[in-house]
Symmetry: C2
Subunit: 196 residues, 2 copies
């Protein structure tokens, strides 16, 4: 019973994602959000808790909707193909013309005031999960003879993620899709092969 909600929370969350992704966590005000969503402040707080809760929910949505390709990419037959799919897919996310450029996980907060430290650390932790997934994939590849045994999977996962982060910053600065794919081209030139 009770009055019906006059807005779609899921649609509102998608809008929040766009705003947060463009402006970052601290650069986005509640007024920015309610204005873009077309709802009032009490409606936002009733539906999503507070700003921090809302941001975490947009992070979940972002990973579900835009970063889901990574899981499939890691299941490519070879390690090299997995990494290439990872980086190419990420470039396409970073420069998706349907939304603001860059990555929510990077644009969200690289540096921020003390008040937002919790969000900054959340983002760092989420990035670490992705890197660990890649490292595990490379470790598996090394067991399969698909990745040189004298190379360190952690080193290469760190390198690949670093290239990704760099491209995310560039994308937020307006880099084109083609430009970033050329970065991937160069980044992959060093990929190690098993000698036999």
């Amino acid at each position: 019973m009770g009055r019906h909600r006059e807005f779609d929370p899921d649609e509102a969350l998608h809008i929040a994602l766009q705003v947060f992704r463009r402006r970052g966590y601290e650069g986005t005000s509640i007024s920015d959000l309610t204005e873009a969503m077309g709802i009032t402040r009490p409606s936002l707080y009733a539906a999503f808790g507070n700003k921090e809760d809302l941001f975490r929910r947009t992070l979940d949505l972002y990973e579900r909707q835009h970063l889901c390709f990574a899981h499939e990419a890691l299941q490519a037959p070879t390690a090299q193909e997995a990494v290439e799919r990872l980086l190419r897919g990420y470039v396409d996310v970073l420069t998706d013309p349907m939304g603001p450029p860059g990555c929510l996980g990077v644009n969200g907060a690289v540096a921020c005031s003390e008040a937002s430290e919790a969000i900054r650390e959340e983002l760092i932790a989420r990035r670490m999960v992705n890197e660990n997934n890649l490292r595990d994939r490379l470790e598996k590849a090394r067991c399969n003879g698909d990745f040189p045994s004298n190379e360190d999977p952690a080193d290469w996962a760190r390198y690949v993620v670093s290239v990704g982060l760099g491209m995310a910053v560039r994308a937020a600065s307006g880099a084109s899709r083609e430009e970033l794919h050329r970065v991937v081209d160069v980044a992959l030139r060093s990929w190690p092969t098993v000698s036999r």
Copy 2:
């Protein structure tokens, strides 16, 4: 004539650099700055103009004091050595234990509110200068036969800067110096040699 200033503007600027570098442009408040500097608001405004002016002056100081190695690095005898010095030197800046980790040019603003767009664009422009300097160095190297003629200097400059940006984000997230030097190790594995 008139009363003497009771603080050292240059010392105050160094402190501002520390604060801005840790918290970013928007994450830093005037109160954060005056508190750290040990001066009052009117003193700050009298000495440095407004927040935006002060930030630009800290940027100048940062480049002068921490990024000056880049100029010398580019003068290394070979392109490969120049790039290696560039990346290694940058890692040392990013993880200098005397200051907060990360790069002011990246921590300053990746994403921000509309009110700080001018600062964001200033940072993008300054980054572009560095990339162009590297590209020019590689172009010179190509003329000297020190860099393959079938490789694009712009592509490689873009790649190197991307790796640098990625490491800057990592550093701000707490990455160690050793960790980042291992990223450089991997990043340089693909450096192209002239076939003869």
